[in-house]
């Protein structure tokens, strides 16, 4: 009886309950994150075509990536271009529109919904195939331009300069969710600050640059990191709309990683690419955190 009581007590102890309730995460973290990542770390030092057993080749994949693979560097270039252009543009758009919509009118709810809808739908395959048809030589963009008098039969997706911009546009089009985040952050700024600034004779621009913008920097910072990481790993859009073409100008990192692994059966190389990106993201996040003290307002 006493033994039963002890076990009973143990089972209902706060810390035991904590562990029991946490089990899904502990198991899931090991099984679906740690083990696959560990496994792929090993494969990244191997030649592995998935079907036959992996052959250990040491740092071969990494050396090839950094010294002997021009396509890899083209993919890095396209990815950086995409992420460093589309993310700041999207955040800028989100901020400007949030400022415009901050002023409440009867229509604000409808406007907010209209601007937000693309973010909810933009990640879908449906929108990607629509985008592909919009920017084809006989697509709706050219037809609309023709109807307003611009004689154009240009294939936006076939040119190394414009193809990536169709993807940037698709990404910026989805500024709505960032806009909502900015709107809610702006609502939390105390009205007293603005009143005090008005007493001191500050105008709209002065209020924006001295109050709104500094107080939004923590939100901007956080979203910049999250969205840059997302931008470095954009996949579906380039997979469906451009397939990396033309001349690898839209060959995003994740797409190349996919091709290496599944099209060329170089799972070892693909694993190495995943690890290089992971390390890069880690370094970039660390560097961004180091720059924090120069431009992010510290509320503490």
């Amino acid at each position: 009886m006493k033994k039963y009581g002890k076990l009973y007590k143990f089972f209902y102890k706060k810390s035991t309950v904590g562990v029991v309730m946490c089990l899904p995460f502990i198991i899931g973290f090991c099984l679906f994150l740690a083990v696959p990542m560990g496994l792929s770390l090993y494969y990244s030092f191997c030649e592995y075509n998935i079907l036959s057993p992996a052959q250990f080749t040491g740092t071969g994949n990494y050396i090839k990536m950094f010294t002997g693979d021009k396509t890899f560097w083209r993919a890095v270039k396209a990815t950086f271009y995409f992420a460093f252009v589309s993310v700041p543009l999207r955040l800028l758009f989100a901020l400007v529109v949030a400022l415009i919509l901050f002023h409440q009118t009867k229509m604000t709810g409808i406007y907010r919904a209209a601007y937000y809808l693309p973010s909810i739908l933009g990640g879908s395959v449906a929108v990607s195939i629509l985008w592909k048809r919009m920017f084809a030589a006989d697509g709706v963009v050219n037809i609309l331009l023709n109807s307003v008098g611009v004689d154009i039969h240009f294939n936006w997706l076939g040119n190394t300069k414009t193809a990536i911009w169709t993807l940037v546009l698709l990404s910026v089009w989805q500024f709505g969710s960032s806009m909502l985040i900015f709107l809610s952050a702006m609502k939390q700024i105390s009205g007293e600050l603005y009143e005090a600034a008005e007493v001191d004779g500050a105008g709209g621009a002065k209020k924006f640059f001295s109050i709104t913008l500094p107080l939004l920097t923590p939100t901007i910072f956080f979203n910049l990191i999250i969205q840059l990481i997302g931008g470095f790993l954009a996949f579906t859009q380039s997979f469906i709309i451009t397939q990396g073409k033309p001349m690898d100008s839209t060959l995003f990192y994740a797409l190349y990683m996919y091709q290496q692994t599944f099209t060329f059966s170089n799972a070892g190389y693909g694993s190495a690419m995943a690890w290089v990106m992971l390390i890069f993201i880690g370094i970039m996040t660390w560097v961004l955190f180091k720059t924090k003290k120069f431009w992010v307002y510290d509320q503490g």
Binding site: L33, A114, F222, I240, A274
Partner: protein
Amino acid sequence: MRNKIIYHTLVFSFGLIMLYPLFWMLMSSFKDSNTIFTTAGQLIPRNFTLENYKNGWRGFGNVGFGSFFGNSLIIAFFATIGTLFSSALVAYSFARCEFKGSGFLFAAMLASMMLPGQILMVPQYLWYRKLGWVGGFAPLIVPYWFAIQGFFVYLMRNFIDGIPRDLDEAAQIDGCSYYAIFTRIILPLMRPAFVTSGIFSFIWRWDDFMSALLYINKTALYPVALALKLFADPSSSSDYGAMFAMAALSLVPVVMIFFIFQRQLVEGIASSGIKG
């Protein structure tokens, strides 16, 4: 007054431009397939036809779009249920039942939130292949029963943090164990968090193209996202009418959720501060 008119005209027309591609796709799906690009400048179809929907619904090979929608529903539904269930347990553990190492695990969870799915694409594929999961729905459903999306745990933990601890204490005095506090007090109060998480999870799973691309190889098991891709393949016959019809149809569940749960979506994004 004049400023007001200018403001509304600008904001309204910009909204129209934003939504124009979506309107265009919807309207094109009601046009005769061979007139879509010749009449692309006109938004409203001259001959309103449902032919594209009939053609598209037939699908590919012997598999109709009904099956694709069914597959998507099964995947999105069971993955979402699993996410809600497991995330609630873990969130409760982090919020109310600290134990040795729970701080470390919470940090690990936050770190995993920063880890995009694409990084895991190759590692997870190789691992699921070893487990013999490739080819079925398991990789698209089972992991979600283990709270692998930190976003939802984080969101729910914040929600539980907002529930007054007095309630727990009162229940404890009445003889409730920590398990009973969860099932009797916390769980019933978590409904708003479940609605918000459920919406996001469903939309994300519905749209998830990459995992389906990696793991599903039989057309009969394709979800909608993957089936739509078949329309875009260069090898398939280019029936753009059918393609737009099915693409528009694939957006219907998400658009419906958007209109019904707009408030929860907006609050979910605003309170978590993370892009949805």
